[in-house]
Amino acid sequence: MTEAEVRPAERTSRRSFLQVAIWTITGLIGLVLGIPFLAALVGSASRKRQQEFSDVASLDALPVGLPVDLPFSESFEDGFIRGETVRRVWLIRTSASEVAAFSPICPHLGCRFDWDARASEFKCPCHASAYTADGRVVAGPAPRPLDSLPVEVRQGRVFVKWQQFKVGTPRKLLV
């Protein structure tokens, strides 16, 4: 049966079916390829970093009660680039066997604070937030205490896990 011999009603029905089929097949191909392509961009952007503990210092070298600012090298992943980067952390030996660690980033707006030995306080140069040696806010606009970092003492060495938190929020939220 040639095209001319097909009845008009049947031809219309066939034509409308073909149109539905074309959109369906195009949609399916778009779907099975489009979703993975989008997922590649979204998935790689929302990956959480897996941080591990890094060796920062010897416990014996830390004075009791006095904060010390220490650099340490940490392996990092930035996309496909893997290497070592230097971070800094505040360590305070609270007793013979215990140590607290603070992120050096001010929880107000992300400036780097310092230890004022005369006032025995941490002071942020940006907006004058002040904190006690155990991290409590005593002055300034800081919305929360200093961000403590996970710390462990293993065989006389202090290990710290580097973490970063959102600044400017009353709650401590991991970035």
Partner: protein
């Protein structure tokens, strides 16, 4: 809502007439699958553009980062494996479909007047597609792509008069390197795509001017069928089939990780890409002065045949059965190209590879270094330097051979020592090289007897040196734990090596001590364990299911070596990385092999999105469901 938007657009832009022009076409003889190949080429081109664009989000075109960034995409980005594998197979699919499309046009006589320009523009697109594949090949900066480009640019370099200039322009210098990758990148992602898009549009416009040629039988041409929706429906079924084929290949036949480009690696067999294999093979038949016939003549003849076809063959006859000359010529050319390609794929390379720049000969003050003798080469390739020292280079496990020629040992003694070391000393840990040919033993003896005390000259390991891309971290030294903790991540740790290549290297460098396939059992007198540690299976604390962590644990041993505990171990692990005896690429191959011995794939996809096989089943399910729905609709409509 949609109709109002459509109307709003049409009041401001002639969308309706444009769509009508695109869709209104009468196909002589009615819609058929035979006329769907052009649409398939166009679709695969779009797929290549989309996957290429996606890769650009992750790929970095530099010699240091290309391989690692692409490996990251393929193993650590959700669906990155799918994007890359589709692009890889899409290139082959596109060129294959172009060839089918052209063959069909030729058989149907569709190049004849008045469609000459359609043919010419199409031929130009074919050449552009060939160049696209050529330009894309070195971008991963892996062994396969590097060497195929080395061969390809060398072929271009043999064109008379301008060859050297062309090669230099393509490579951005005499040797392959960063300028090469930059140039090929710009060609592949900017210049050639713009040309391709332009010429595809010109080709389509020229095609629509006279429309589809239809069947060659006059009677069949009298009926026609519409492009929309009849032909487009058939086109889409073919495109859907091609997408399924490409997905199957992407899932079940992923491209290999051939390891990072390593100009110093002499074990890789360079080959041109499959689409240039015929030329690669043809060049072997035109040595010396005749080379120009191959490099310039053959491509020119092919291009001339393509371009001149519509002007030489001016008869109106389109039936292939009545065009014996045209068909005969096509079959001969096709057979020659196919045969040459098959021969090329089976043969060994015929083009000299590049490698490190040659030292200027005879320059004042620069001593001319004689090429290494066969014996000297064998000493390197057999891994003798893993245990013996010669002129300050090599291991300390076996005796120093720097003055072997002065010891007065005769040929028979040396031959027996190489073939059966235990015949002289039953406690010897030297592997027996009993499978060497007589000529190789002679070459070794000749070399060893030539080693006299006080000889200066070139150090042996000089040919094995230097990491191909990022260098070896010299600051890390073996020894204390503190030093180990401070060791930077080596290049080898970041490269995904090829376990098959690693297997070859293992037999050459490691098997003598770690045993056949790393199964151990080789005695190490004086060590606490008494034997060399087995690597198959490896110690539990070194093994890891995660390939990156596994490699990070074993890498320091290969890079920096190790002395086993015990009073006086006879065998020590040499520092293959620090001594530059192996390149970082080679170490990555060895590591991939050791992982494979322990059931871990180095190229394991750690972030797949959806696992390839599951994704394949999912896609088949989605397509199956779609077909079922369509069949239901068809049935329902026909009953009404």
């Amino acid at each position: 809502m949609f109709e109002r938007l459509w109307q709003w657009i049409n009041e401001r832009w002639p969308a309706k007439p444009v769509v009508q022009t695109l869709l209104t076409e009468e196909i002589p003889g009615g819609a058929t699958f035979k006329f769907g190949f052009g649409a398939c080429v166009l679709s695969v081109f779009f797929l290549q553009a989309a996957t290429g664009l996606m890769q650009l989000f992750f790929y970095v075109p530099s010699v240091d980062h290309a391989y690692v960034s692409l490996s990251f995409l393929r193993t650590e980005v959700p669906f990155g494996w799918l994007i890359h594998n589709l692009h890889y197979w899409g290139a082959t699919a596109m060129l294959t479909l172009v060839l089918i499309h052209m063959t069909q046009v030729y058989f149907w006589g569709a190049y004849k007047s008045p469609r000459e320009l359609v043919w010419l523009l199409g031929s130009f697109n074919f050449l552009l597609a060939m160049l696209m594949m050529f330009a894309g090949s070195p971008l991963p900066w892996d062994e396969k792509g590097y060497w195929s480009t080395e061969v390809g640019t060398s072929i271009a370099g043999t064109v008379p008069f301008i060859g050297d200039l062309v090669k230099r322009i393509l490579r951005g210098g005499e040797e392959m390197g960063q300028p090469t990758i930059s140039r090929f990148f710009v060609l592949h992602v900017a210049i050639l795509p713009v040309l391709l898009i332009t010429f595809i549009i010109l080709h389509l416009v020229a095609f629509r001017r006279f429309g589809c040629v239809g069947p060659w039988q006059e009677a069949k041409r009298s009926t026609t069928g519409p492009f929309w929706p009849d032909q487009l429906f058939k086109d889409l079924i073919m495109i859907g089939g091609i997408v399924i084929i490409l997905l199957t290949l992407a899932v079940f036949v992923p491209p290999d990780f051939s390891g990072p480009a390593d100009p110093l690696d002499t074990t890789f067999v360079p080959k041109s890409q499959w689409n240039f294999l015929f030329l690669f093979q043809a060049l072997k038949y035109f040595p010396g002065r005749l080379e120009a016939v191959g490099t310039l003549g053959i491509p020119l003849v092919i291009i001339l045949l393509l371009v001149s076809a519509p002007f030489v063959d001016r008869r109106k006859e389109r039936n292939p059965a009545k065009r014996p000359v045209a068909m005969g010529l096509f079959i001969v050319v096709a057979l020659v190209i196919i045969c040459l390609s098959i021969m090329g794929s089976r043969s060994m390379p015929g083009v000299t590879r590049g490698g490190p720049p040659a030292k200027p000969e005879g320059t004042a003050g620069t001593p001319i270094v004689p090429p290494p003798s066969e014996g000297e080469q064998l000493v390197k390739t057999l891994g003798c330097l893993g245990c013996h020292t010669i002129k300050g280079e090599g291991g300390k496990v076996g005796p120093d051979l720097s003055a072997e020629g002065s010891r007065g040992r005769d040929r028979e003694w040396l031959a027996k020592q190489i073939r059966e070391p235990k015949s002289h000393n039953p406690a010897s840990v030297m592997p027996a090289f009993s499978n060497l040919e007589d000529s190789q033993i002679d070459a070794l003896i000749e070399y060893l007897q030539g080693l006299k005390s006080g000889d200066g000259g070139q150090t042996l390991a000089s040919g094995l040196l230097q990491s191909p891309t990022s260098g070896f971290p010299q600051e890390g030294q073996p020894g204390s734990e503190e030093q180990e903790a401070g060791r930077p991540v080596t290049a080898a740790q970041q490269f995904i090596g090829d376990p098959r290549h690693g297997g070859k290297l293992f037999r050459q460098y490691c098997e003598a001590c770690h045993g056949l396939a790393g199964r151990g059992g080789v005695p190490n007198p004086g060590s606490a364990d008494g034997t060399v540690p087995a690597l198959n299976p490896i110690e539990e604390e070194l093994a890891d299911k995660e390939p990156a962590r596994f490699v990070a644990k074993i890498d320091p041993f290969i890079q920096y070596g190790e002395t086993p505990s015990g009073p006086q171990p006879a065998l020590k692990m040499p520092d293959f990385g620090r001594s530059l005896a192996l390149t970082q690429g080679q170490i990555s191959h060895l590591e991939a092999y050791i992982l494979s011995l322990n059931g871990v794939r180095r190229d394991q996809i750690s972030v797949p999105g959806v696992r390839p096989a599951s994704f394949f089943v999912l896609v088949l399910g989605v397509f199956g469901l779609g077909i079922l729905c369509l069949a239901g609709i068809r049935l329902w409509k026909s009953r009404r």
